[in-house]
C-alpha cells in the first residue's frame, strides 16, 4: 500500500510544482489599470499599413489625455473575426476595434458592441461632418449607432499606362468610356484592344484566340462576388439596378432583377471572348497579383489599394472612374468605423479614443499620410493633395462623390449566410456552369427565404 501512496504523492507534488512554475513563467499581463489611475486600452485593426498612422494618432491622443495610453494590435484579416469572437467569450477582446459593415450587424444583434448615441449626444458629436450617407450605415433600424465613420472608399479602374500607350489608347478615351450590358459600349472595345493572345493578336483583330491569351484587357477579382464591390456593383448600378428594397437594413434582395442578370451575363461574355481571365486562372492569387505581373491591363479595385499599385516597379499606373452606363458612372461607397466592446472595463476611456478617432484632429493625420481617405471631407482633401504631390491623380475616386453617384454598401441581417449562398452561385455563373438568369433567380429565392424565416 505504501508504495502506491508514496508514488502518488510524489507524482502529485511534481505536477503541482511544474504547473506552478510554468504558470508563473508564462503569466501574461492583463491588468491594464495601474495604481495611479493610468489606463491602457487596446485598439485592434487588421491592416499593418495603417498601423503606423494610427500610432501617430495614439501618440497625439496620449499627449492630450496623459492618463490614457492606447496600445495598438494588428491581426491579419483571415483571423481577425474569429479572434474577436474568442476574445468576446474569454473576456480578452480588445477594448476598441476596427469594425466592418459586413460584420457589425451580427455583433450589434448579439449585443457585444456598445451603442454610442447617449455619449455622442452628451458630447455633441454630430454625424453631419462626414461625407453624406456614411454615418447612417452605422445605425441600426432602432436608431442605435455603433460607430462613427473613420474612412471611406470607392472603386475605380486601375490602368497600366504602358499597355494603354502600346495599344494606342489615350487616357482621355478611357476616362470617357461608355458601357451597357448589351454591347459593352466603348469600354468593351478598349478592353478588347488591350487583350493580346499568345501570338500577338489583339482582341479586336481577326483570329484572336480566346483560349490562349497572354494579356487580358480587364482583370477579375474572384472574391467578394456577393456584393460585387470590386466587380459588378458599379456597373449594375449604372443601369439603375438596386440590390435591396432599401439600404441600409434592406429586407428583400433583388438578385433576380433582369438588369443584374444582363450585367452578369456580360461578365461571363467577357471571359468567353477572352478579354477577362477565367475564374480558374484568377482565383488563386487574385487580380492584384495578375496586374502587377503584367497579365492584365485594367483592374477594378478600391482606393485602399492605391499604395500597392503605385509602389509597383516598372508599371506606371493611372486611375479612371468606372465607365459610364445609362445612368452615369457609379461606384459602391463603403467605410470603416471603430466599435467599443461591451465587456471593456474602461468604457469612458474607450469613448474618448473613439471620439478622437472620429474627430478632425486624428483624421487630418490620417489624411496627411494618404493610406486611406478619411471620412471628414477636409481631411480627405488632404489625402488627395498628398497623392497629387507624389504625382498620382486620385480624382477618379472622388468623382462619384461629387456627382452623387454612389450607392451604399448593402447592409442586411444574416450577411454571412447570404454570402455562403451567393458567392458560389456567382462563381458558377462565371464558370459557365449555369446561366446568369437561372442562377440568380434560384439564389434570389434562397436568399430571401433566409431573411423571411429568420
Amino acid at each position: 500500500m505504501t508504495p502506491h501512496k508514496r508514488t502518488l504523492t510524489r507524482l502529485a507534488t511534481a505536477i503541482i510544482l511544474a504547473a506552478t512554475i510554468a504558470g508563473l513563467a508564462g503569466c501574461g499581463s492583463s491588468d491594464s489599470a495601474a495604481s495611479n489611475g493610468d489606463v491602457t486600452i487596446t485598439y485592434a485593426n487588421w491592416d499593418p499599413n495603417q498601423a503606423p498612422v494610427y500610432q501617430k494618432c495614439a501618440d497625439l491622443f496620449h499627449q492630450l489625455n496623459p492618463t490614457i495610453t492606447v496600445k495598438l494590435q494588428t491581426t491579419d484579416w483571415n483571423d481577425y473575426w474569429s479572434e474577436l469572437a474568442t476574445g468576446f467569450i474569454a473576456d480578452t477582446a480588445p477594448d476598441v476595434f476596427t469594425d466592418h459593415l459586413s460584420e457589425y450587424p451580427q455583433l450589434a444583434n448579439s449585443d457585444v458592441i456598445e451603442p454610442l448615441n447617449r455619449l455622442a449626444a452628451r458630447d455633441g458629436v454630430s454625424a453631419n461632418r462626414y461625407f453624406p450617407g456614411l454615418a447612417e450605415l452605422w445605425q441600426t433600424p432602432n436608431g442605435n449607432r455603433y460607430g462613427f465613420p473613420k474612412d471611406w472608399d470607392t472603386i475605380a479602374i486601375v490602368s497600366n499606362q504602358g499597355m494603354l500607350e502600346k495599344a494606342g489608347i489615350t487616357k482621355q478615351q478611357l476616362d470617357h468610356a461608355t458601357w451597357n450590358p448589351q454591347t459593352g459600349g466603348t469600354f468593351e472595345q478598349i478592353a478588347a484592344r488591350l487583350s493580346i493572345d499568345d501570338k500577338g493578336r489583339r482582341g479586336d483583330q481577326p483570329g484572336f484566340d480566346p483560349s490562349h491569351v497572354a494579356v487580358y484587357g480587364l482583370g477579375l477579382d474572384p472574391g467578394g462576388l456577393t456584393y460585387g464591390q470590386t466587380t459588378w456593383s458599379g456597373f449594375a448600378a449604372s443601369t439603375g439596378f438596386q440590390l435591396l428594397n432599401k439600404n441600409p437594413w434592406g429586407t428583400h434582395y433583388k438578385y433576380s432583377d433582369p438588369r443584374l442578370a444582363a450585367t452578369m451575363a456580360w461578365w461571363r461574355h467577357m471571359i468567353v471572348k477572352g478579354y477577362m481571365p477565367p475564374l480558374v486562372q484568377a482565383s488563386t492569387l487574385g487580380q492584384t497579383a495578375m496586374f502587377l505581373g503584367g497579365k492584365v491591363a485594367l483592374a477594378i479595385d478600391g482606393d485602399w489599394q492605391i499604395s500597392t499599385y503605385t509602389a509597383a516597379k516598372n508599371i506606371k499606373v493611372a486611375f479612371t472612374p468606372l465607365p459610364a452606363g445609362p445612368k452615369g458612372s457609379w461606384s459602391m461607397f463603403n467605410g470603416l468605423a471603430d466599435s467599443i466592446w461591451v465587456g471593456s472595463k474602461h468604457q469612458a476611456q474607450d469613448w474618448q479614443w473613439v471620439k478622437f478617432l472620429a474627430s478632425p484632429q486624428c483624421q487630418n493625420i490620417v489624411g496627411a499620410s494618404a493610406v486611406v481617405f478619411p471620412a471628414i471631407p477636409e481631411a480627405a482633401n488632404r489625402s488627395v493633395a498628398v497623392h497629387e504631390k507624389q504625382g498620382v491623380d486620385v480624382s477618379a475616386f472622388t468623382s462619384y462623390v461629387k456627382a452623387k453617384h454612389t450607392m451604399l454598401y448593402p447592409i442586411t441581417l444574416d450577411a454571412p449566410q447570404i454570402n455562403l449562398l451567393v458567392q458560389p452561385t456567382m462563381e458558377e455563373i462565371l464558370l459557365g456552369e449555369v446561366s446568369a438568369q437561372q442562377g440568380l433567380k434560384t439564389v434570389n429565392r434562397q436568399v430571401n427565404d433566409i431573411l423571411k424565416y429568420r
Binding site: G23, A90, D91, D301, W304, Q305, A312
Partner: protein
Amino acid sequence: MSDTLTPTSPAAVSSALRSRARPKRRINWGRVAAWAVMGVLLVITLFPFFWMIRTALSSNPDLVAGKQSLVPPGATIVNFKRALGVATQHEITAATGAQTGTTINFFSALKNSVIVCTLITVGQVLFCSMAAYAFARLRFRGRDKLFFLFLMAMMIPPVFTLIPNFVLVKNLGLLNTYLGIAAPFLLMTPFAVFFMRQFFLGISKEVEEAAVLDGASRWRIFRQLIIPMSIAPLTTLAVLTYITAWNEYMWPLVAGSAPNVQVLTVALNAFKSSTPTAIPDWSGLMAATFLAAIPIIVLFIALGRRMVDSIGFSGIK
C-alpha cells in the same frame, strides 16, 4: 487486405520456390529503376524547399513581377533580417516597397515555442508511457474498455473540443500562459498511449515477472526496468510529440494570442495578407518559415538516427 496466407517459415519459403536459377543481372536493372524512383521522390520532396529559400532571397516587387529564374535576381538576405527583426527601416522599404513591412518578434516567439513544446513533450511522454504501461501490463477491471475509450478520443475533431477547452482554460485563469497553451496536450494524447502500449506489449515478460516475484513495486519496475529498455521508442515518441507540438496552430492561436506568449506558428501570421485583396508578404513569410523550421530540423538531425535506427515495433503481434 487479402486473405491468402502463404507459409512463412524459411523452410516453407524455400520449398515453395524450388528454383536453382540465380539470375543476378535482373536485380541490377531493378536497382537502377528503384534508384531512379527514389531520385524522383527526393527531387519532388526537396524542390518546394528550394523554392521557399529562393523566394526568401528575392524581393517582393520582383516576385509579383513574375520572374521565374532559378536564381533570384538581386538575391538578398534582407528578408531574413526582417524576419528576425533586425532590419533597418530603410532596408524594409527597399525590400517591400511599402511604408512599413511586417515585423515579428522572432526570438520571443522562438523562445515561446521551445518552452511550450518542451512542456508538452515532457508531460506527454511521461504520463502517456505510464498509462501505456498500465494498459499493457497491469490487470484490472475494465482495462480494455478504458483503453478503447482513450482510443475513441482520436475521433474527436479538435474544433469540437476547441471552445469548451477554451472556456475551461479561461476559467482557470490560464489564458495566454505557457501552461494554458500546453494544457490540452500535456496529460494525454491517444496516439502516444497507443504507440507506447504497442511497444510495451512486446517486451518480454520473464524479467518483469521475476522482479515482481522478488517483491519490487510496480513503480520501481517501471522506472528501473521498463524505461531503460524503451529508450528508443520513448525517444521516437518525444521527437514526434515535439514536432507535432511545434506545428500546432489552432489552439495556440486561440489560447495564446498575446504577443508575449505567441508561438512561432501564430507569430508567422503577421506575414499573411493584411486586407481582403492585398497580397501577402511572400519573401518575408518564406524567410520566417525557413528560420522557424531550422530548430526542428536540427532536432531531427540530432535525434533522428537514434529514432529511426532502433525502433522496434516488435510489440505488434
